[in-house]
Symmetry: C2
Subunit: 202 residues, 2 copies
Amino acid sequence: MPKIVDHDKQREWVAEAALRVIQKGGLEKATVRNIAEEAGLSVGSMRHYFSSQAELLAFCMNLIIERIEKRLTSLSLKGPVFSDMKLVLMQFLPMDEDRTMEMEVWMSFVAKALIYPELRKINDEMYDGLTKACHFVIDSLVTHKLAKPELDLEYEKERIYALVDGLAIHHIMRPQQLTQDKIEKIIDQHLQSLCIDELIMP
Amino acid sequence: MPKIVDHDKQREWVAEAALRVIQKGGLEKATVRNIAEEAGLSVGSMRHYFSSQAELLAFCMNLIIERIEKRLTSLSLKGPVFSDMKLVLMQFLPMDEDRTMEMEVWMSFVAKALIYPELRKINDEMYDGLTKACHFVIDSLVTHKLAKPELDLEYEKERIYALVDGLAIHHIMRPQQLTQDKIEKIIDQHLQSLCIDELIMP
């Protein structure tokens, strides 16, 4: 009887091994040989799963995007809106091991995408995903009449997105200086600064 | 008569060639061979200037730090304070070719510094330099009685630094989406949000 292997599951297994290799050694260490070793597979078998390194990398980055989406859809947002929006933003910040790993791998990827145009598409997808989440946060504050009426919404969306990414990068660069507690406080105070005073919780 | 070569000038020449190589091809292309070719020197002569690739990389990053410092010290800050502080922050944003190049090379370097602890020291130097500049901006607003009295200064310093770096990264990733005009407006409005209302210029 032939061995039945779930092809999709196996691709995911390989991609997860690749993510660990990238986190430990950067993208330059993400060779077929290293990834096969980490996945416990033979080098020869790798071509069954990915025909090129570019395909494997794209799959890895998609895996990260999927993980974030999964985290977002499984959030139980049951109000108050202010806390819910804070919770949404925190999904993009390196507050646990998984999110730190995602962020570190993504940083390597962004640096590479600046140079290789073929990687831009997936980088743009991540950018668009995060932009959408930031729009959702600001729009929710408006819909629920929490936002100050004088806010320039377009500007606030760009500002909050830049803030989230800047905090994420600073935390992985200097976790002792910009601690997770500080990040949470900064996000909290930033959201408060966008809201009508009377509606802010103590 | 022996040929007289200014050793320091030559090191700088090599480092500038290295920066161009990194910008075009990422850090993985920053090999002795490629840099020698870009600098118009023989591979053999390179060891006169740098004994290792790590030394060359550290020198390159120092070059970027020096450039930024030079730009900062040559700024003519003659008030109003609000515009001066905006000008200081804009030095860290990719508003011209030089600053864009610095930022792109730095991104590659940060991704690498996450993996190689020996590169952390110089990464920390840049971090400290930018932190200091952000402290200077917030402290100046306070000294000149422009800042809202209720500001949490420690938090504002981290927030403005994260904002500046986030904007810089988003601009080099998606220059058409986050334009230089938008960046300038965001920095302007952010600074305004920190200041007492009556003191804001129209």
